[in-house]
Each structure stands twice: as structure tokens, then as C-alpha cells.
Symmetry: C11
Subunit: 145 residues, 11 copies
């Protein structure tokens, strides 16, 4: 019971990293949507300077606060939900699915041996006979200069 507590404590007291929030690089490349990645004007077709500046600011601000509010409202309930779900999946996988596969594996081997014998008995002579087609290839190679 002591070991257990240590592990739990270890998990709970681990300082949560607030700066780097994607240590395993899951979403880094996919969700990259700054203003530069989305809107750009090539040389020769420039809009007014004021329009450009305002566009930049409004895009950045609206995206920033919209995300914050959504995560503040829906983040914690979703975290609890995923917690329960993954616990359930883990339990099913460990106690039910893996033993099932194991017993199925023993049974399939018997079927496999009998089936394999039949196939080899009835198909092998036929295909060995077919192999005769390729057993007499003669190639005469002549090099022209």
C-alpha cells in the first residue's frame, strides 16, 4: 500500500508545466493558424496600410479570446468525461479482451493444421504441374555490334 501511495502522490504533486503544454508534440504541426499562415498579399497587390493593420489585429484578438472562453466553459467537464472513458476501456481490455484472444488462439491452431493439410494435399500437385510451364525456358542472347 505504501508503493501505491507514492505513485499516486508522484502523479498528483508533479508540477504541471504551464509553458510547454504539448510535451509529446501531438498537435504542434497540425493546429498552426496565425495570421501569417492564413492571409498574405504578394508584391503588386497591396491593400491600404490601415486596412492591413486593422485586419491583422482583429484576426489575432478574435481568435485568442474565442478559444479561451470555449476552453474555460467546456474544458473541465470534458476532462472528467475522458477520464472515466479511458478507465473503462483499460479495464475491458485487461480483464476481458486479452484472455479471450488467448483462448481463441489455441482453438484456431487446431483448425489451422487440418485446413493447411487439406490445402497442401489438393493444391500442391496441381500447382507443381503448373510449374512445368516455366521449367523449360530457353533464351538465346545475341549481341549485335
Amino acid at each position: 500500500m505504501a508503493e501505491e501511495r507514492i505513485i499516486i502522490k508522484d502523479q498528483h504533486t508533479k508540477e504541471i508545466d504551464l509553458v510547454n503544454r504539448d510535451p509529446k508534440h501531438i498537435n504542434e504541426d497540425v493546429v498552426k493558424v496565425d495570421f501569417e499562415d492564413v492571409i498574405a498579399e504578394p508584391v503588386g497587390t497591396y491593400s491600404f496600410d490601415g486596412v492591413w493593420k486593422t485586419s491583422y489585429t482583429t484576426f489575432t484578438v478574435s481568435k485568442y479570446w474565442c478559444y479561451r472562453l470555449l476552453s474555460a466553459v467546456l474544458g473541465i467537464p470534458l476532462a472528467v468525461l475522458w477520464g472515466f472513458l479511458f478507465a473503462l476501456i483499460s479495464f475491458c481490455h485487461i480483464w476481458a479482451v486479452v484472455p479471450c484472444i488467448k483462448s481463441y488462439l489455441i482453438e484456431i491452431q487446431c483448425v489451422s493444421r487440418i485446413y493447411s493439410l487439406c490445402i497442401h494435399t489438393f493444391c500442391d500437385p496441381l500447382f507443381e504441374a503448373l510449374a512445368k510451364i516455366c521449367s523449360n525456358i530457353r533464351v538465346a542472347v545475341r549481341k549485335e555490334i
Copy 2:
């Protein structure tokens, strides 16, 4: 909270580059539509000099001001719209889609193992028998001089 403010400030106070408006080269090669890229007269079929000059000027000016007016009127509302949209997409992707994929990944592995065993049990002997067709190729090579 301090770190957060710094990042936000960093994003907001970053001087907007008004000269190079496509730092990631998204539209540079595609949207290149000067007069020289569009209209050209080969040697031997020249129009009057005055006609050529006027054509050049009218094309350049009409394209320039038409774009400016359109961006002045529609640019800022579109920037706000894209800001909200990308915030929504980011939130869905981070809090809903990725965990879903994760749990789906665990379930698919069980199915995969059972399915793989069946396939290997019933197809392997058949295809090993088929392989006999190619197992007796005899090639006689004769070099003619």
C-alpha cells in the same frame, strides 16, 4: 498569468511589416498578374505606339484601385470571421477529436489481432501452395556469337 500576458503582449506589440506582406511565400508565385505577364506582342505584329502605351496604363491603374477598394470594404469583416472560425476548429481538434482517435486506436488493435490471425490461418496455406508455380523455373541461356 504573467507568462500569458507576455505572450499576448508579444503578439500585439509585434511591429506589423507593411512592406513584405507575404513572409511565408504563400501567394507569391500564384497571384502574379502584371501587364507583362498577361499581354505581349511578338516581333512583326506591333500595334500603334499610342495604343500600346494607353493599354499598359489603363490595365495597371484599373487593377490597382479595384483591389484597394475591395479590400478596404470587405477585408476587416473577413478577418474577424476567420479569427472566430479558426478558434472553434482549434478547440474541437484539441479537446474532442484527438482523445477520440486515441480511444479508437486501442479498440482497433484488438480487432486487428483477431482478424490478422484468421487471415493468416486461412490464406497462408493457399498462397504458399500457389507459390509452388514459381518454384521450379529453369532457364537455359545460350550466347550466340
Copy 3:
């Protein structure tokens, strides 16, 4: 009878390893569902610090206790069930299936020899004749400089 007792005792008195509970690495890679593996925020789309911290804690705790309770209630009955099942499978496999396969193996060999003779009698001449198509290939190779 002495040997038997030793084996049984050996199995029963073997100290159960409470720390490493997966010595044969069956579930190690599949069931890996910590908070970092499931939810991540890339640079530029961070939620409030408090929201992030609370999410982390609620996910970890809910997953942890949910699994514990499930295994405490359902673990031991399932263990007994699997014990009986695997004993039954072992007995069938040892005393019934393997001798059956053995006797079937003797019978199939007779069928196999007669069948093989028929196939070789009727297919071999046909395919040897077909082999003539490939027996007169002439290739003239000329190297251009």
C-alpha cells in the same frame, strides 16, 4: 506424488510481484492513456492557466479511481471464470483434438498419393507442351553509343 507437490507448492508460494504487473509486456504499449497522451495545446492557442491545471487534475483522478473500483468488484470472479475455461480448453486439446489430427493425417496421405498421380498423369503433358512457348526466346541486344 512428491514431485507434484513440489511443483504446486512452487506455484503457490512464488512471491507475487506487485510492482511490475506485466512481466511479459502484453499490454504495455497498447493501454497508455495519461493526460499528456490525450490532450495537448500547441503554442499560440493556450487556455487560462487555472482551466488547464484543473483539467489535468480531474482527468487523472477520475481515471484512477474508476479503474480501481471496477477491478475490485469484477476482477476476482473473472479470474475464477478464466481459470475453469482454460482448464477445459487444455483437456480437450490434449486428449481429443491432437489424436484426431493424427488419425486424419494417416488417411489423408492415401488420398493424397492417388490424387497426386491423377494430376501428374493428366496435367503434366499438357503443361510440358505449354512450356514450349517459352523454349525458343531469342534476344538480340545492341548497345548504342
Copy 4:
């Protein structure tokens, strides 16, 4: 008759090996179903220590005794049954099947020679003509630098 008795005696007085009961490794890899092979908990999703210990014990004990009782009740009748069955199969194979195959082998050879002549008479010219398609391949290879 003396030789016979020696062989029988040899078979009967041969000391039965009670420790290694699978000298020809027929079932060794297939029927391997200890607790470690079937149930395992990866790091991070551990059940209570008591639950884990009890599961281990109940699985091992239930499997062990269930198999013993089954073999004690059904083992000897099955052994007698298989004894009679294999004697019958041996007799049929030695005195009826093998001579049958032998006589069939003589008859098939006559059919085979006539059939083979027909095939070679009517198919060979056709396929030799087909072989002309491949008898004039000219390949000019040019190495570009």
C-alpha cells in the same frame, strides 16, 4: 515367438517418464496458459494490491484442479478408445490401401502414355508456332550520361 515377447516386454516394462510428459514437443508451445500469459496491468492503471493477489491465486488454483478432475474421470476410457481406433487404421492401411494403390499405379501408366502422346501430337506444333512470337526480340540499350 521369442522376439515378439521381447518387444512386447520392452514396450511394457519401459519406465514411464512422469516428469517430462511431452518428449516429442507436441503441445508445448500451444497450451501455455499461466496467469502471466493471460492477465497483465501496465504502469499507471494498477488495481488494489489485495485484488491483484487474490486474482492470481484463484485463477491458478481453479485451473489446476479442474484439469485434474477431468483427466481422472475421462482419461483412461479415451486411451482405450484411441488404442482400438489406431489398430484398425493400421490394419486397413497395410493390407488394403497400399496394394490397391500399387495396382492402380500400373493401370494409370498405360493411360498416361496414350494420353501423353495425344497431347504432344496435337499441342506441340501449336505451341512451337506460338513460340515464334518471342523468337525475334531486339533490344537496343543506350546509356545516357
Copy 5:
């Protein structure tokens, strides 16, 4: 605003090159239709000298003035039209199409991962089994002298 004016001025005051009117070689090879490229008399079938001379002159002159008049009448309106059109295309491409593609790109990646997993789960074992057909090729090469 100063930078803007400079660019505009730079575009407007750039001396228009009246001699080389196809600096990017767009129409040079295609629109090449002098008298020599179109009409030619081989040795042995010559028309009268006067006929030949008059043909040359009338072809050159009629082509020359016909083109001049057409461009003088239709050139400038077409230039204005193309100016407006390309401004519109540029605006749509920059402010609407590229952001759309960006958001579509994030969504497609999720679909892609799930779809890819399904395909690999269900097709891989089948095709690995099929691969056995090619895994036992035996080639016996004999060099005839």
C-alpha cells in the same frame, strides 16, 4: 503611405519599352506568321516572277494594317476589362480561398488518420498473405555453350 506612393510611382513612371514588347517571351514562338513561314514554292514548280512578288507584298501589307486597326479599336477597352478581372481574382484568392484551404487541411488530417488505421488494419494481413506467392521463387540458370 510614403512607401506606397513610391511603388505606385515606380510602376507608373517606368518607361514603357516600345521596341521589345514581349519581355517574358510569351507569344514569341507561337505567333510567327511571316510570308516565308506560310507560302513556299519548291524547285521545279515556280509561278511567274510578277505573281510571286505581288503575292509577297499584298500578304505582308494586308496582315500589317488589319492588325493595327483591330488593336487600335479594341485594345484599350480590353485592357481595362482585364485589369478589373484580375483585381477581383486576386482579392478572392487572398482573402477567401487560401484560409478556406487552411481550415480544410486541419479537418482532413483527422479523417485521414482514422481512415488510414482502418485500411492498415484490414488490408495489411490480406496483402501480406498474398505476398507469400512470390516468396518462394526458385530459378535454375543453365548456360549452354
Copy 6:
């Protein structure tokens, strides 16, 4: 007549080998059904010692006596039957089938020559023409570094 008698005597007085009863290894590998080949218990799933010993003995004894009785009752009639049958087959093969094949062989050669001429007359030009498809292959090989 003297030679004949010698051969017959030689056949009859040849000492019958009672120990090695399969000098040409016809049934050696196929009919191998001792207790070890049929029933085996892997480590971890052992039955009671007494049960195992009794199983071994009953299987061996029942198989042994069952075969003896069957061969004593049915062996000699079957030997006479096979004797007559093989004499009949030999006679038919020597005096009727082989001369038939010989005469058939002369007749088939006439048919063969005419048929072969037809085939070569009508198919050869066609296939020689088809061979032109492969007579102009040009391969340019470029090695990239």
C-alpha cells in the same frame, strides 16, 4: 524347365525375414502411432500420476492385440486375393496393352506429320508477324548519382 524350377525354388526357399517386415520402407513413416506420438501433457497442466500411467498401458495393450487379431483372421484371404489380381493385371499389360500402344504409335505419327504441317503453314506467318511487336525495343538507361 530346369531354370524355371530354380527360380521358383529360389523364391520359395528364400528365408522370410520376421524381424524387419518392411524392407522397402513403404509404411515406415506413415503408420507411426505410439502413445508418445498421440497424447502429451505440457508443463503446468499435469494429470494425476496414476491416471497418466494407466492411460499409457491401456492404449499400448489395446492397440497391440486388436491389430493381431484382425491380421490373424483377415490376412491370409487377402494375400490370396491380391495374388490372383496382380497376375491378371500383369497378363493384360504384357499381352494386350503394350502391343496396342505400339500400333497406335505408328498411326499417330502419320496424323502428327500432316497436322504439324497445317499448323506450321497457317500459324507461323501470323506469329512471325506478331513477333515484330518486340523487335524494336529501345531502352535508354540513365544512372542518377
Copy 7:
């Protein structure tokens, strides 16, 4: 305007070459129809000398004058017609077709990117799985001497 006049003058005062009337070798090889190219008598089947001489002369003269008259009557109107036609084609190509292609080129690129992503998303995993068929080829080469 000075440059223009020079070019025009250059075109108009360029001395027309009356001897070599096909400087770009357009019709040289095709329209070659002297008497020797059309009518020939092999050794052994000669007509009367007078007949041969008269045939030669009548063919050459009739061909010569027939062409001259046709070109004198129809040559100049055709030259004017082709002059107008090529001026029209040049104008359409320069002022309408090329800008159209340019704008079409921008639009097709957007479609292309989205279409390409779809194809790669849905076809790549399938074909990568198909590639497994070829990923396990084993060739055993044996040289017979």
C-alpha cells in the same frame, strides 16, 4: 514612330529572292514530282523510243504551264485572304486567349490543391497496403553446370 517606319521599310524594301523560293524548306521534300519520280521502265520492258521521248516532254510541259496559269489567276487573291486571316488570329491570341489562360491558371491551382489532398488522403493508405504484396519476394538462384 521612327522605329516603326524603319521596320516597315525594312520589310517592304527587303529584296524578294526569286530563285530560292522556299528558304525555310517547308515544301521541298513533299512536292517533288518530276518525270523521273513518277514514271520508270525497268530493264526488259521498254516501250518504243519515240513514245518514251514524247511522254517525257508532254508530261513536263503540261505540268509546267498548268501550274503557272493557276498561280497567276488565284495567287494574289489568296495572299490577301491569308494576310487578313493571320492578322485576325494574331489579335485574338494576343489580347483575348493568353489573358484567359492566365486567369484560368490561378483558379485551377486552388482546385488542384484540394483535389490532391483528397486523393492522397484516401488512396495513399490503400496503395501502401497493396505495396505489401511485393515486399517479400524471395528468389533462390541456382546455377547448373
Copy 8:
């Protein structure tokens, strides 16, 4: 007539070989049916010694006398029959079939030449055109290290 008589005498007075009755090895391998070739008991499944000895004797004797009686009764009539038949076949083949083939061979050559010309006239250009498909193969080989 003298030569003829010598040959006939040579054939008639040739001493008939009574020991080796198959000098051209026609039936040697096929008709081989001694007791050892037909019935065999592997180690472990032996019948009583008396049963085995009696089986051996009865098989050999019954086969031996059965064949003798059949050949004594039916041998000579069959020899006369085959004599007449082969004389008839020889006569037909020498005086009728071979001259027929000879005359047919002259006629087929005419047909062959005309047919061959047609085929080469109408198929060759088509297949030479088809050959162009293979006349421009470019292979770029890159060795990865």
C-alpha cells in the same frame, strides 16, 4: 532370293532367349509386383509370425500359377493376331500413307507462300506500328546508399 532366305533363316534360327525375356526393357519397371512391393508392416504393429509366413507363401504361389495358366491358354492366339495386324499396318503405311503425305506436302507449299504473303502484307505494318510503344523506354536508375 538367296539374300531373302538368309534373312528369314536368320530370323527363324535365332536362338530364343528364355532367361532374359525383356531385352528392350519395356515392362521391367512397370510390372513389378512381388510381396515386398505390396504388403509391409512397420515396427510396432506386427502380426503373428505364422500369419505373416503363410501370407507371404500364398500370395507368391497364387500369383505365379494364375499367370502361367492364362498365358498358356491365350498367349499363342494373341501372337498370331498381332502378327497379322502389324503386317497390315506396315503395308498401309509404306504404300499409301507416305506417298499421300509427299503429294500433300507439294500442294501445301503453294498455299503457304500465298497465305504468308497476305499475312506479311497486312499484319506487318500494324505490328511494326505497335512496336513503337516499346521504342522509347527510359529508365533512370538511382542507387541509394
Copy 9:
């Protein structure tokens, strides 16, 4: 006009070669029909000497005079006819067909560019995906000694 006359004179005063009437070898190999090329008697089947001589003479003489009369009657009208026909063909080809092809060539290039873009846009991603099938070939070569 002087040059013209010289050419005409050159053509008209050129001495017509009466001996070699096929300087460009058009009909030399095709129209070769002497008596030796048509009728021949192999050794062993000779007709009477007189018959043979008369056949030779009648064939040669009848062929010789028949051709002379035909050419004398029909040669000159045909020469005039072909003269007019080839003049007409030359005129059409020079003044109508070649300019037509030229103008058609300009138009087809526009169509070609747009069509080519479509094809590359919609087919390339599909075929690049298909190319993945061949991108993972693994060949294990084993040399048997």
C-alpha cells in the same frame, strides 16, 4: 525572266536517257518477269526439248510486243493527264493546305495548354498515389550452390 528561261531550257534540252529508263530505281525489283523468273523445270521432270524451246520463245516475244503496243497507244495521253494532275496537286498544297495547317497550329496550342493543365491537375495525384504500390519492393536473392 532570264533565270526562268534558263531553268526551262535546262529541263527541255536535257538529253533524255533512252538506255537507263529507271534512274531512281522505282520499278527495278518489282517488275522483273523474264522466262527464267516464271517457269522452271527441276531435274527429273523435263519436257521435250522442242517444247521447251518454243515455250521460251513464245513467252518472250508475246510479252515484248504486247507491252510495246499498249505503251504506244496509251502512253502519251496518260503522260499529259498525270502532268495536269500533279500541277493541280502542287498548287493546292502550296497555296491552300500549308497556310491552313499553319493557322490550325496556332489554335491547337491554346487548346493544348488548357487541356494539359486539366489532365495534370486531375490525373497526376491519382497516378502518384498509384505509384506507391511499386515503391516498396523487397527482393531477397539467395544463391544456392
Copy 10:
């Protein structure tokens, strides 16, 4: 006429070879039907000596005289028949068939040239275009160690 007589005399006075009656080896291998080629008894299945001797004699004698009588009765009429037939065939072939082929050969060449031009005109561009499929093969070879 002297030469003729010599040849005829040469043919008639040529001494006919009565011993080797097949100088060109036409029937040597085919019609080979002595007693040894037709009937043979392998070791172990011998008939009575008297039966064997009588069989040999009756077969040889009956075949010998049967053939003699047939050839004496039917040989000479058949020889006359074949003589007339081959004279007729020779005449047709020399005086009718070969000249026919010759004239047909001239006519087919005209058809051949026109047909060949059509085919090359309409099929070549299509197949050259098809050849592009093979003109860009890139093979990356990697040697695994």
C-alpha cells in the same frame, strides 16, 4: 535428244538396290515391329517355356507372309497410280501455280505500299503517344546488407 536419252537410260539402267530398300531413311524408325518391340515378360512373371517359344515363332511367321502377299497383289498397281499422280502435280506446279504466284506478288506490292502508308499515318502517332507511359521510369535500388 541425246542428253535426254542418256538421262532416261541412266534412270532405267541404274541397278536397283534389293538389300537396302530405304536409302533416304523415311520409314526406318517408324515401322519397327519385331517380337521384342511388342511383347516382353519382366523378371518374376514368366510363362511356360513352350508357350513363349511358340508365341515368338507364330508372331514372326504370320507377320512375314501376310505382308508379302499384300505387297505382291497391290504393290504394282499402286506404283503406276502414284506415277501418274505425281506427274500431274509436277505439271500443275511448274506451268500454272508458280507464274500465278509471281503475278500475284506484283499486285500485292502495290496494295502493300498504300496499306502500309495508311497504317503508319494513323497508328504511329497514337502508339508514339502511348510510348510516353514507359518513358519516365525511375528505379531506386537500395542494397540492404
Copy 11:
């Protein structure tokens, strides 16, 4: 006219070769039908000597005189017929067919160029796209020792 006469004289006074009547070897191999080529008796099946001698003589004589009479009666009319026929064919070929082919050749070239352009315009992009399938082949070769 002198040259003509010389040629004619040369043809007429050329001494006709009565011995070698097939100087160009047209019928030498085909029409070879002596007695030895048609009828032959292998060793062992000889007819009476008288029968054989008479057969030889009657065949040779009947064939010889039958051919002589046929050629004497039908040879000269056929020679005249073939003479007229070949003169007619020569005339048609020289004065009508070859000029026709020539004019047809000029016309087909125009069609050919336009057709070829269409094919290359519409098929080339498609097949170049198809070529991408083969442009990414990766072969990993592993030598097993």
C-alpha cells in the same frame, strides 16, 4: 533504235540452256518426287524381289511419260498466255499504279500532320500522367548468404 534491236537480238539469240532448266532454283526443292522419295521398305518388312523391281520401273516410267505428254500439249499455249498477262501487268504498274501512289503520298502527308498534332495534343498529357505510376519504383535488394 539500234540499241533496241541489240537488246531484242540479245534476248532472242541467247542460247537456251536445255540441261539446267531451273537456273534460279525456283522449283528445285519443292518438286522432288523420285521413287526413293516416295516409297521405302524398312529392314524386316521386305516384299518379294520381283514385286519391288517392277514397282520401281512402273512408277518411274509412268511418271516420266505422263509429264512429257502434258507439257507437249499444254506448254506452248500457256507460255503465250503468261506472256500477254505479264505485259499487261507491267504496263498497268508502270503507267498507272506508281503515279497514283505518288499523288496519294502527297495528300496523305497533309492528313498525317493534322492528325498527328491532334493525337499529340490530346493523348500526350494523359499518357505522361500515366507515366507517373512507374516513376517511383523502389527496390530493396538483400543478398542472403
